[in-house]
Subunit: 878 residues, 2 copies
Amino acid sequence: MCHIFSQEAESMQFIYDFEEGRRTDKGLLGGKGANLAEMTHLGLPVPPGFTITTECCMTYLADESFFDTQLKSSIMNAVHKLENKTHKSFTNTIDPLLVSVRSGAKFSMPGMMDTILNLGLNDQRVQAFAQTTSLAFAYDCYRRLLQMYGDVVFGIPKEEFYDLLSNAEQALAKKTDSFTLREQEEVIQSYKEKFFSRNLVFPQDPYEQLFEATKAVFRSWNNQRANVYRELNHIPHNLGTAVNVQSMVFGNSGDQSGTGVVFTRNPATGEGHLFGEFLLNAQGEDVVAGIRTPAPIAELKEQMPTAYADFVHYAKVLEDHYKDMQDIEFTIENEHLYILQTRDGKRTAKAALTIALDLVKEGIISKETALNRVSPEMIDQLIHPVFDSNALKDAELVAAGLPASPGAATGVIVFTAEAAKDFSNMGQKVILVRQETSPEDIEGMIVSEAIVTSRGGMTSHAAVVARGMGTCCITGCEALTVDEQNKQVKCGELLFTEGDIFSVDGTSGKIFLGEIPTVIAENNEELKQLLTWADEVAQLNVRANAETVLDLTTAMDFGATGIGLARTEHMFFGAERVLEMRRLILADSDKEAQDALERLLTFQEEDFYQMYQIVQDKPMVIRLLDPPMHEFLPHEPNDIRQLALKLGKSPLLVEEQIRRLQEANPMLGHRGCRLGITMPTIYQMQVRAIFKSVIRLQKEGQTILPEVMIPLIAEKEELLYIKQFLTSTIEQVFAQEGIEPLPYELGTMIELPRACFIADELAKEADFFSFGTNDLTQMTYGFSRDDIGKFINTYTEKGIMQSDPFQHLDQNGVGSLIRVAVEKARQTKPEMCIGVCGEVGGDPDSIRFFAEIGVDYVSCSPFRIPAARLAVAQAAIN
Amino acid sequence: MCHIFSQEAESMQFIYDFEEGRRTDKGLLGGKGANLAEMTHLGLPVPPGFTITTECCMTYLADESFFDTQLKSSIMNAVHKLENKTHKSFTNTIDPLLVSVRSGAKFSMPGMMDTILNLGLNDQRVQAFAQTTSLAFAYDCYRRLLQMYGDVVFGIPKEEFYDLLSNAEQALAKKTDSFTLREQEEVIQSYKEKFFSRNLVFPQDPYEQLFEATKAVFRSWNNQRANVYRELNHIPHNLGTAVNVQSMVFGNSGDQSGTGVVFTRNPATGEGHLFGEFLLNAQGEDVVAGIRTPAPIAELKEQMPTAYADFVHYAKVLEDHYKDMQDIEFTIENEHLYILQTRDGKRTAKAALTIALDLVKEGIISKETALNRVSPEMIDQLIHPVFDSNALKDAELVAAGLPASPGAATGVIVFTAEAAKDFSNMGQKVILVRQETSPEDIEGMIVSEAIVTSRGGMTSHAAVVARGMGTCCITGCEALTVDEQNKQVKCGELLFTEGDIFSVDGTSGKIFLGEIPTVIAENNEELKQLLTWADEVAQLNVRANAETVLDLTTAMDFGATGIGLARTEHMFFGAERVLEMRRLILADSDKEAQDALERLLTFQEEDFYQMYQIVQDKPMVIRLLDPPMHEFLPHEPNDIRQLALKLGKSPLLVEEQIRRLQEANPMLGHRGCRLGITMPTIYQMQVRAIFKSVIRLQKEGQTILPEVMIPLIAEKEELLYIKQFLTSTIEQVFAQEGIEPLPYELGTMIELPRACFIADELAKEADFFSFGTNDLTQMTYGFSRDDIGKFINTYTEKGIMQSDPFQHLDQNGVGSLIRVAVEKARQTKPEMCIGVCGEVGGDPDSIRFFAEIGVDYVSCSPFRIPAARLAVAQAAIN
């Protein structure tokens, strides 16, 4: 093994200067290295440097001797070239070259050793470095180097260095940045002693520093956290990490220096102007951490016009090159601009949409690319509710901050990520309120409806993460004093504690007290435009699961091509109707049952009439009654007594009847087509109502193709039996109404594993199929959605379930069944219409699967339709 | 179409004399025709005749003109030959040839037109016929011909002729057989008038009679009942029926004539002597209908020694030829023996076993054939209980009859087939008590535990059918006066009504009052012999589902090769144990839980120790706890209060805890491995108990390979998680006990549809699989066994479910899943041990399927093991 690696190594190029690589070299140079190379290639002012390849990492990890025998000399050569380019020296005490050393793998990978800055300083060179800056600054840099080196190379916890520093601060009763040189030297000495105490010595030779740092980064590829991360994200273990060595520039070297983070377009709104912040005399970390509040980028124009003009130029170059909005980090050292990093900028849904459309208008990207630039999840955000403007007038304002991520949300306030998870698990909507957030808070942020921080700007951790998730967020709300320990937040005189309710408007940056009703956002023109393009490439239709007038109207407004599932359960509820339903279920005589059915018929005919008026000539699949009878009956003794009174029956007998209808496992019980078979009169009444309404509409000049769906079929004979009596009922209606028979379709839901296996047989009898993925998932897993609450949290904590199969189709199990069924159905009827009408019908990943196996439509709740339309287009494009 | 048929017809042989066919010609000659031909070929005294082929039937049905143009002349030729053979004439009035006309299709098919006897008689020929017999006899024959002809050819209901006859009987106040000639003539005249009243005339020309009878039989192929029967039994509609025309012989022509039905061996015990009955001066129908009580066949030897000797000879010829016990119908006409029919005789299970073994001993059949001669259902009967002989001593005898079919059963008495079905549907065991039974009673007979008739002999309908089904039966119990109308039976002074309880001993022929306890029959030597042969050819093992000491012992006695499913639920029940289990579930502290677990551990270690002592070195798969926690808790307020008192807890809190554990669908809820994951301590306690007992046995010199099975796995991660903590618990036990780790296996049940699809992945982690077909069937159908009672009767009535999928594997749905899983598992581990442990594991049809897809063993309840062993052998042979 070693031998092979050595042989290969001989023909390898170990190191690439930034001038040599391109962004396509991510495998060899890592993401960061390739990106630096690309920018260098574009002629951007990138501090020069070089990248040690991922192959060197893997070769070293297989055979450590490779480093001394082969890599060392290459690194020294690369440093010599860097000395020539920068006119600085890595070893001399005059004009010292300092470098940063950073890891960088093919895929962004938190968990590896990351960064050492200021490498190359030692006891002598710190003095020389001070001559170009100041002694105080140079000592500060040296102290930071010792700390990072100690952490990365020697594995001494950062906290131990922080403790030493804060001990000194307490002893001297002042902050680090007020330390005298002497005091700084003493801290540095204490750091070195920390090394000694562990029998370690900080190497004074810059090369030795560089070699050890490089090896430490290589080794970090195999540390525990990195391995776990790769396992979780299915990243191969044999890729290795590159090491980027870059000459240092200092944004914190005085008032002619600075640093900033800028988006080439507004990441909140998508508007086409630079958006970002900078801090003078600061390093990049200072902006991101939100410790000082930075200034808007526009102000740089006044303070450093040349650097600003340069930046504007380079920003345009980068955006044109990457064909997308960029998130750029820069540093200014003595008025000289350096670009340190660029990447596609995270953005809100609204911005993503605007930017995508603008880029098409500007001729930079195609419509298909634009469709891929917006995610279905973003569409969901775009159509989320906003606060009712009438209610807002009377709302009590608590405070205002930066509108970091738009949206509107109400919830109970909590002060830690843990509390957010706990409350959320109990079904509460939560608002996470913190001084600032950090990556450890991420799980709490995910479950929160909104995030509020008292510190930080529009590019702080909280803001960036919230926009990415589409979660409503307000940052820099300095009126708030957050006490995370005591679970309270002060705002002037007011004191709020955990569990109080806030309403957060991320669009305006305002926080209100108590709950405020929300309304639906306007269906904006940009979204319509994008979805029109989506429909042009779509290969699947998107229908809605809807049955009420409101939902049907919303579905049509959102562009549903029809109704994939109109449930009829609701038609039996409502005080008047449920009484008739109960009368029917408990009837003592045929007459009583018949009377109840007639009254239900009158109600339902009108219901169907209204439904068809909204849906018009679009298809609407009406599912016959599904739930078991006992769901329509009261269970409380008092309710039962009252019902008996109303129906003129003996309470004892009614109670007995209700008791007999109870089931051990209603989900697996007397429901769906099983009811249709044992109590055919209900299904007969339903189709009479449907066809009478259709005939009424026909007489008014409207042509409807009624589609009736039978639920829970497990046996072909069930379908045959029901089909038979439905058909004759329908013929009866035509005869009674004195009209020629109209065409209609009878189909079935496929929602039991058995139905999937006999789909070829069922297809002979059914005009269409619709997969009920909710029930199919319940049966396939043996999970009752009503009961999984008892163990699902444990499953999630222990990582046993990767995702919720009721939200994302379980492709291995449920998907396999669906695939079997589609194949079998198509054998019998190649052109049969097959749809999906469970929750997963609106889920992008699931839609991709459904597109692949060739279903005709997906059907989802009205509000998920826009996202589904986009997902369908993306499935077609990709 | 017609044209084609005609062309084919030209080259066809339409008619075969009995001398021309063989038993292999069933397709062309029908079963009856082929059988008559075979017997003729063997040289048996079969009344001569000929068979009109099934092809003629289909040709005629396609084109009626075929009959006149082609078939008629062939029939006339065949009749001429028959006249020559019998030296009788079909048309003259001297020595008239009379024939029977019978249908006969390839497959026995009730529902078609059946039989016309005495065909050829007319007003003149009846006089001629009387000269060889008597006028009374000839008139009787003529009357019967008119009735059968009217029914079969003209479609006049039999009942109308019966009515005419009974009117005459009433008017004359005497029975038909006492009628004077004049009175007989009048009845005949009334029959003819019945024809006239419908504008029909009974043809006097014998040929016309024969032609019309033949056509009527042809047409009956397409009648409603025949069509339905073919649909139900998957018999093709294009086979057609043959028509058998045979010269009549008359067992009722005097005291030197007679008829009988004889088995070549005893159909109840299998003993190797002739067994049967005869009636002098009677026709075959008289024996079968049980109207007169016949004499044992042995008596024939004295009464007609020559005929008897002939019969003994021919019986041996037939048995040797067919290599099986025969059921032979014969007629003696004036001391001349004729064989009318032979077929494999129906027999009791005991007889089937004895006969099969004897035939092997006699060198007539092979062991494999013997294994096929006994059905698994018969084995079930052989090991059924008999009445406890101690209890029998005090039992109150009601009456005694013929021991027609052995066995012992207790139930409520009913008097109609409908009542039998009704009571049985309500879960009652029923005893059907009737004067005599007829084919219309068949459904009621199937659901009955025992059948008692007051009339009829050992070969009556009741006796034959009951033996075939293995149902206990007593016939000819003449002490009983059955009043079916008024639902009562008298026995001397005693009067019993519907719902009274009888105990019926079919082996002794005795009926007792009330319930008598039963005991298990001795495991007889013949059965052991057969099952030893079965094991020699078996390709699947048969294990038992058993866990109690009694069941384990029974399983071992019945030859189980191991235990496929030892449930552990019972170990948590019993007053002492369930209290500890409840303490555990409701524990407030770890200490309380731990204490309860320790006490459960002590119990269970002893349980496993005892179980292993019975099973010894045979494999035993122990399933960890499966049911949800709430099954161990009380639900009645009073019980809850008492429990709280015992545990020293607040009743309100306990009630609340119990309430929270309730589930909407327990079958789909928090059970199986889901419990193992959320409450690992229970599974840990269980494996500790298992391994401690195994170590104890090892110290006593016994080596056990523990096999532990985890239920309800849906995700690979569930299995991984549980495996991890079980493995470390097991290692702990080894360490604590200070012994070297022993080998053991951890496997999983495959009982969710999802598990089938990921079987390849699960196989990587599991040492063995066992299909839990009960749960798998529930999930595949979406049926809860607890709830299907609400609709399954409707399903059965309407023919929607062909069979109970919990008794017979649903090969289309559940079977497809199992097939998928076995294929996937074998991809990962070709040699993995895969078993089946649901109810269907003991079902012969299902076993055939499991053998085909290659599982290693089936596991069933102990009493089903002998039948399963045979079924497994048959699957291997066939």
